[in-house]
């Protein structure tokens, strides 16, 4: 008898607490959205982790905005080989990703017909 009562109380109590927490979470999300801080951080995190920016790619390969594709390919080959021999795989990946990123940029420029 008493056990059933206690069980009921526990279930109801946890339900109420759970619902309250959900509401608080939702309200916190709304607040964050209103201030706009969460959006920025989310976007930054997403952008920083998934893709490489063109500027960073140029920095990694050590080329400028006016460099030709041949120069970039040369630097890429050089850096890739040196890192494969005595660097780290991580750095090799970054060099590769930088070349990939700039490749897209230069292909796009070639299609548009505008000089890089």
């Amino acid at each position: 008898m008493a056990g059933k009562l206690i069980a009921n109380l526990i279930v109801m109590g946890s339900g109420i607490i759970g619902r309250a927490m959900l509401q608080a979470y939702r309200k916190a999300l709304d607040n964050a959205n209103k201030t706009g801080v969460a959006h920025e951080t989310i976007n930054n995190i997403r952008r920083a982790s998934k893709t490489m920016t063109e500027q960073e790619a140029r920095q990694i390969l050590g080329v400028s905005e006016q460099s030709t594709w041949e120069e970039i390919a040369q630097r890429y080959d050089n850096l890739f080989e040196r890192n494969a021999k005595s660097g780290s795989f991580y750095l090799q990946s970054k060099v590769h990703r930088a070349k990939e990123c700039l490749e897209n940029v230069y292909q796009k420029n070639k299609q548009d017909g505008t000089p890089p």
Partner: protein, 96 residues
Amino acid sequence: MGSRYMLQAWQAFRTRAAMPRVWRFYPGGFEREMTRREAALILGVRERAAFDKIKEAHKRVMVANHPDAGGSHYIASKINEAKDMLMGKGKSGSMF
């Protein structure tokens, strides 16, 4: 008979797996703020590697990416930052 085949297959597998062909390059660029994990990856050491290992790895990786030899200053600064991070934290860790 089956075991002989297995032995042959094993030998073939061992001799073939010399060069890793299924490497997948790490995606994206460097992280906005360097972490210990990234520092360890850059130098190619474990996060809790010994000092001399870190120094030796730093020298090796720096030689491979030296600005005078075709490397970029950006990467060189990342390598130095990685070494500082691992040395600094490592030092305080070993004191306690």
